[in-house]
């Protein structure tokens, strides 16, 4: 029996039992579509998270107060809710003198109510040095960012997020030049940020209030330390070298001799990207593994219905054997039928999964406006094709062998 004839016989078997074939395939279609959709969502989520970290700026090193004790995955003390006051102005000054460093941004962060007229919203505010806007790639959609002079002069000026501007002023009032009130201080709105979505570490950048560091630190919080310091490495030096220089400068400033007793944590973008990349990859694999369970269930469905089909077609098997089909011919025909069912199911699953992925993209990117990207990972498609074919082979072999083993005389007599 030629392979083309085996394919024709298998196709004929599928064609003449359309409903049964459709129901058999359904399990595989759902399984493959689930794998594609979940891997695509995982891929998109990974892209979104990584792009947010990359959106922090380039060549950045983040210094957080508090040590991490040991281990790459242990969180710094501040992340555990402990207030550490180790990062101060002398650190910023020392870092600014370091040739490997192009820029140093000091930051403080707090929460307060912002009031304009009758509107009162609780927001996160950031006090930053004026170079924050260039280092962090924050441009304004309206107005301008504040300058060094505003920081030095304790000017009560602010740049606010787009959603907050809309909440406070509505669509008709131009926020620029208006006075908003935070902690009994009045700030003149100098600029409004474009829509930026949620930034790295879950900060809602569209509801942010950015004020000069001097005002934020001294007048709003009344502290002499910083929440974090961001260092931009000089292009002429490697990140690793700059990181070692930052470590050295801070240890010198803080009088630390033992490396295990650092009262600060240094993270590069690469560290964060690698950590988040690992986490999201594991999540994606985890989702794919869950979806794969449905493929196994689909495979068992194929085996079940193929076994029923073998019993139903006992007479056909007997006839084919009587007129010259060998054990191998029958095995081939039924195995190809199972693989064809799963292959068609797999192809349909890829199509359905892709459509659902596109639909998810439309909903999440346009309706929720989260900056979601369309990702259809090729490895998901390769995995889907491979798994569906293997499923067909694995779950088709037993029914096919049952068919091939049939005694032609008993098969011909079967009623």
């Amino acid at each position: 029996m030629k392979l083309t004839d085996a394919f024709k016989a298998a196709a004929s078997g599928i064609r003449h039992a359309r409903l049964r074939s459709f129901l058999t395939m359904l399990g595989i279609v759902i399984g493959i579509a689930s794998v594609i959709l979940l891997m695509a969502i995982g891929g998109s989520a990974q892209n979104l998270i990584l792009s947010q970290v990359e959106g922090l700026g380039s060549n950045l090193i983040i210094i957080i107060p508090g040590g991490t004790n040991s281990g790459r995955f242990s969180s710094p003390a501040t992340a555990q809710g402990i207030v550490i006051k180790s990062l101060k102005q002398n650190d910023v000054d020392a870092l600014r003198r370091e040739p490997a460093i192009a820029a140093v941004v000091a930051e403080i962060r707090g929460q307060a109510d912002v009031v304009y007229g009758d509107n009162d919203v609780t927001i996160t505010y950031e006090g930053v040095t004026s170079n924050f806007f260039s280092v962090r790639n924050f441009e304004t959609a309206k107005g301008y960012p504040f300058a060094e002079n505003d920081v030095n002069s304790f000017n009560h000026v602010t740049v606010i997020g787009s959603a907050l501007a809309n909440t406070l002023f509505g669509p008709t009032i131009n926020p620029l030049g208006k006075l908003i009130h935070i902690k009994n201080l009045s700030f003149r709105v100098m600029g409004v940020l474009p829509k930026k979505g949620t930034g790295a570490f879950g900060i809602d950048q569209d509801n942010l209030v950015i004020v000069p560091i001097s005002v934020g630190q001294k007048q709003m919080l009344g502290i002499d330390y910083y929440t974090d310091i961001i260092v931009q490495a000089n292009n002429a030096f490697s990140i690793d070298f700059t990181k070692s220089r930052v470590t050295s400068v801070l240890r010198g400033n803080h009088g630390i001799a033992n490396a295990n007793k650092d009262d600060f944590t240094i993270q590069t973008q690469e560290d964060i990207l690698s950590l988040l990349g690992n986490i999201t990859s594991i999540m994606t694999l985890f989702l794919a593994a869950i979806a794969s369970i449905s493929l196994v269930v689909g495979g068992i469905g194929i085996m079940n219905i193929m076994l029923v089909s073998v019993v139903e077609r006992t007479k056909e098997i007997g006839l084919r054997k009587a007129v010259g089909a060998t054990h191998k011919d029958i095995l081939k025909q039924f195995l190809i039928e199972a693989v064809m069912l799963t292959a068609i199911g797999g192809a349909t699953g890829i199509l359905v999964g892709s459509l659902l992925t596109a639909l998810t993209y439309v909903v999440l990117s346009h309706v929720l406006a989260t900056g979601w990207t369309f990702v259809l990972p090729p490895q998901a498609i390769i995995l889907a094709v491979a798994v569906s074919t293997i499923t067909g082979l694995a779950f088709g072999i037993y029914p096919a062998r049952q068919a091939a083993k049939k005694n032609p005389i008993d098969a011909l007599r079967y009623e």
């Binding site: 003449h16 005389i409 011909l412």
Partner: protein
């Protein structure tokens, strides 16, 4: 063509051995029309299954066209069944949802000697030989009983076999339809095909030239049929 000596067939079942055939010996030469007859349970179908290579004997020897069955593998038996034997069954054994063409084509699929481009001519010739040219692309399940058996005969003829085995070919047909089928078999025999027919109906066997009677698994009688029918009207009477 066929030579059988001291053939025996036992079946093992639940601790007891049943003898279906015992001490069967005969020869069939090319061009004969032989009816194997006997009451139900006599062993005639078992004998047909062995003659047609669908089953193996427990002991004794069987040679088909000089080839001894015990020397042949299952694959070789399947090849000989395909190329040198044709089969007609009582219940037609057609694939009901496939067309006449697809049903008749089945034995050609397993014949490595017939290239695919020659298949259509073979199918058309076989279907024409049973007078169903106009039904070529009809679903087999929608045909009448006699038409189905004609399709089965076309399927048996398509590989141009030396011998045709017919197992109660008129068993599911009325007498007029049965007569049509027997006429076709008689015509095939006249054109040189060896026909081996299993039947328990005397009037069907009378189309054959020789009758082998089986009783309790043994040959009861073996000889030429003196009273032969050759036409449909004679058969229906």
């Amino acid at each position: 063509m066929i030579s059988i000596r001291n053939l025996k067939k036992n079946y093992d079942g639940e601790g007891a051995v049943t003898t279906a055939l015992e001490d069967i010996s005969f020869d069939i030469t090319t061009g004969e029309f032989v009816a194997i007859m006997g009451p139900s349970g006599s062993g005639k179908s078992t004998l047909l299954h062995i003659l047609s290579f669908l089953d193996r004997p427990t002991s004794g020897s069987y040679a088909f066209q000089g080839k001894r069955m015990q020397d042949l593998s299952d694959e070789e038996l399947a090849r000989i069944r395909n190329e040198e034997m044709g089969f007609i069954f009582q219940s037609f054994n057609l694939l009901a949802r496939q067309t006449v063409y697809e049903n008749v084509e089945i034995p050609l699929i397993y014949n490595a000697n017939i290239p695919p481009e020659l298949r259509e001519a073979r199918v058309r010739a076989a279907v024409a030989a049973v007078g169903l040219d106009d039904k070529l692309y009809e679903e087999a399940g929608k045909l009448s009983g006699v038409q189905k058996q004609r399709v089965a005969i076309a399927r048996a003829l398509v590989n141009q076999p030396n011998v045709i085995f017919a197992d109660e070919p008129t068993g599911n047909l009325d007498s007029a339809s049965g007569a049509q089928i027997m006429e076709i078999l008689a015509r095939l025999n006249e054109s040189g095909h060896t026909i081996i027919l299993v039947t328990h109906e005397t009037y069907t066997s009378e189309f054959a030239k020789r009758a082998i009677h089986i009783k309790d698994g043994r040959i009861h009688s073996d000889g030429p049929l003196t009273r032969r029918r050759t036409s449909k009207s004679d058969f229906i009477k």
